[in-house]
């Protein structure tokens, strides 16, 4: 629970910390858009290199970002697998015949047993699981022990591999970029920046200060609510709820016993927060003075130019090629 990084500010030094939040938000949007436009390998590898450079130059702990990506792993792996199975465009790359023979199935069972009993000693459980899965498929495809009672085929097409790769990379880039933004920007600064960036929308009578306030409050409360969830889990554990084991029906009960107090506490908290803000004379829509003024520096202009260049570059390559 504690290692969820998205939305958490971590104090530190480095040029990203000193930049104007407006620059960071605009650059984030531009770079995200670039990530979506990219369609060829060279550009994608350059983008990945650029990300690595950004993390190193910004002196950001790469492990923090990686642990932020961890919850996304399952989504990424399944998108990739679905692409492999169902995308049938381009040349055929792999055409395996799967042999289902009793001996082969025995081998696979042995592999699964091996995975089952060694998994608790392995550090990267998810990769271990994936490796086992791939190993099992490779076993069935390449080993021909004894007569097969059935055969199947596994066809993987070129487009499946490339599309899968691009989707995974895009998602990773987007999450990394947003993690970098929230890691290096104080929630208050983020609020200021969002408000300022969205202010042109006022023309359409959209109340941007309120939207910025809503966003920054929800970001601010992610870690707080996680702490609350932790406390609730302890309180329920002391009444005999075992969150680590149990049957399906028990699991549902466990989740309910966590979610209901969670909702009640969130509503109560938001009510109290609203009162506290009102008690300090917060009136939605009223103009307010600021203690900290945003300052635009040379680094900001440079960052903006770089992001703009990146976007135009990827667009031109895509149009030209």
């Amino acid at each position: 629970m504690k290692n969820i990084v998205i939305g958490r500010f971590v104090p530190g030094k480095g040029f990203l910390y000193r930049m104007d939040p407006r620059t960071k938000i605009i650059s984030l949007v531009l770079l995200m858009a670039s990530a979506f436009v990219i369609r060829n390998f060279t550009a994608m590898f350059m983008a990945i290199g650029f990300m690595a450079l950004l993390l190193v130059a910004g002196r950001i702990n790469i492990f923090r970002v990686l642990s932020g990506l961890r919850p996304l792993m399952y989504l990424l792996a399944f998108t990739f697998i679905f692409q492999l199975l169902f995308n049938t465009q381009g040349d055929l790359v792999v055409a395996w015949t799967l042999h289902y023979s009793p001996l082969n199935i025995l081998m696979v069972t042995a592999l699964v047993m091996l995975w089952f009993f060694t998994k608790r000693h392995v550090k990267f459980k998810f990769f271990f699981f994936l490796a086992t899965l791939v190993g099992a498929v490779a076993l069935v495809a390449n080993l021909r022990l004894g007569p097969a009672f059935a055969t199947g085929t596994l066809d993987i097409y070129e487009s499946a591999l490339t599309t899968g790769f691009f989707i995974v990379m895009r998602l990773m880039i987007i999450v990394t970029l947003s993690t970098v933004l929230t890691l290096t920007t104080k929630p208050t600064d983020l609020n200021l920046g969002l408000e300022s960036v969205m202010s042109p929308l006022k023309v359409f009578r959209i109340r941007t200060e309120e939207m910025a306030m809503i966003i920054s409050i929800s970001l601010r409360y992610i870690p707080t609510l996680l702490d609350e969830a932790n406390k609730i889990m302890l309180a329920q554990a002391s009444r005999g709820v075992d969150f680590s084991e149990g049957k399906f029906k028990a699991k549902i009960m466990q989740i309910v016993s966590l979610l209901v107090p969670m909702f009640i506490i969130s509503f109560k908290r938001s009510d109290e927060l609203a009162n506290a803000m009102e008690a300090r004379s917060f009136v939605p829509g009223q103009p307010r003075t600021r203690l900290h003024q945003l300052t635009w520096g040379l680094a900001d202009t440079a960052a903006l130019v770089v992001s703009l260049l990146a976007l135009t570059a990827v667009i031109t390559t895509r149009v030209v090629m």
């Binding site: 504690k2 971590v10 104090p11 608790r120 609350e228 406390k231 609730i232 302890l234 309180a235 329920q236 554990a237 002391s238 009444r239 005999g240 709820v241 075992d242 680590s244 309910v256 016993s257 209901v260 107090p261 009640i264 506490i265 109560k268």
Partner: protein, 287 residues
């Protein structure tokens, strides 16, 4: 010995590498029956962390806690070598804020939730619920109400009833009387004392009220900056130790005795610990 702490250290993980030290080198033992312990100390001194170790909700970074013969330590818990649920059946812990545990549609369901988790049949659990709701000073009409439409004090009572229904051998209460009116507070303290007296169970109460400590406790634990600085008799604590250093104050009765001695020259022969006992002692001297 029901609970035995053996050189326990505990640190909360923080954003920085250091973390927050909550327990340092704690060693103590608690009997499974017949103890009435109060745990005091300033806020942030580690009281709640200490009691959360007593039913294995938290596990020591180094050192171990023996709970009813089960040795709870980091490696064993990590590898899931021990089952923690039997411990929680024996050591019941009531949290400071009832909001963290109430979740069912009715008070009855919420009270029976704990016992049912430990395999008590439904009918029996309902019977227990009807009994404990009266013990905490509410009546049976509350059983059909929603726990969310109760006042703060009533919620607190229901959450206490939820733990009492599990019939633990050791009952631990984290500030059970905060947010209650004086009448309710006294009544509830009486309830805990009765549980201790009549059923000979061990009760541990975290409190900031020195009068409670002085009147009821047979043993006091004082926490200060993650260390256990005192473990012993309450009279000794308030008469011989320099308690201002620990941000504690003197119970009203002791203050009163002190003023009587200074201003009126009345010296009592005994050490009364409640108002009633004080009147008796005073009567003896004046007669």
């Amino acid at each position: 010995m029901a609970i035995k702490f053996n050189r326990v250290d505990f640190k909360y993980k923080g954003d920085d590498k250091k973390g927050y030290l909550a327990l340092s080198n704690i060693s103590l033992s608690i009997q499974g029956e017949g103890e009435f312990i109060t745990l005091i100390g300033e806020t942030g001194s580690g009281k709640t962390t200490l009691v959360q170790h007593m039913n294995a909700l938290l596990v020591a970074n180094s050192g171990s806690v023996d709970i009813y013969g089960i040795k709870v330590e980091k490696q064993a818990v990590k590898k899931k070598k021990i089952r923690l649920n039997p411990i929680r059946k024996k050591v019941g812990l009531v949290f400071q804020f009832p909001e963290y545990q109430l979740f069912e549609e009715t008070v009855l369901k919420d009270i029976t939730f704990g016992p049912k988790n430990f395999g008590v049949p439904e009918a029996e659990a309902i019977e227990t619920a009807q009994r404990v709701i009266r013990i905490v000073g509410l009546d049976e009409s509350y059983l059909d109400r929603s726990p969310f439409n109760l006042s703060g004090g009533e919620k607190k009572r229901v959450s206490i009833a939820g733990i009492l229904a599990m019939e633990p051998d050791i009952l631990i209460l984290d500030e059970p009387t905060s947010g209650l009116d004086p009448m309710g507070r006294n009544a509830l303290l009486k309830v805990f004392y009765d549980i201790h007296e009549k059923l000979n169970k061990t009760v541990i109460i975290i409190t900031h009220d020195m009068n409670t400590v002085y009147e009821y406790a047979k043993r006091v634990l004082v926490m200060r900056d993650s260390y256990l600085v005192y473990d012993g008799d309450p009279v000794d604590l308030f008469t011989t130790k320099n308690i201002e250093n620990w941000n504690l104050d003197v119970p009203d009765i002791l203050n009163l005795m002190h003023r009587m001695e200074q201003d009126l020259g009345i010296t009592l022969t005994s050490r009364p610990r409640s108002a009633a006992a004080l009147t008796n002692a005073l009567e003896e001297v004046l007669r």
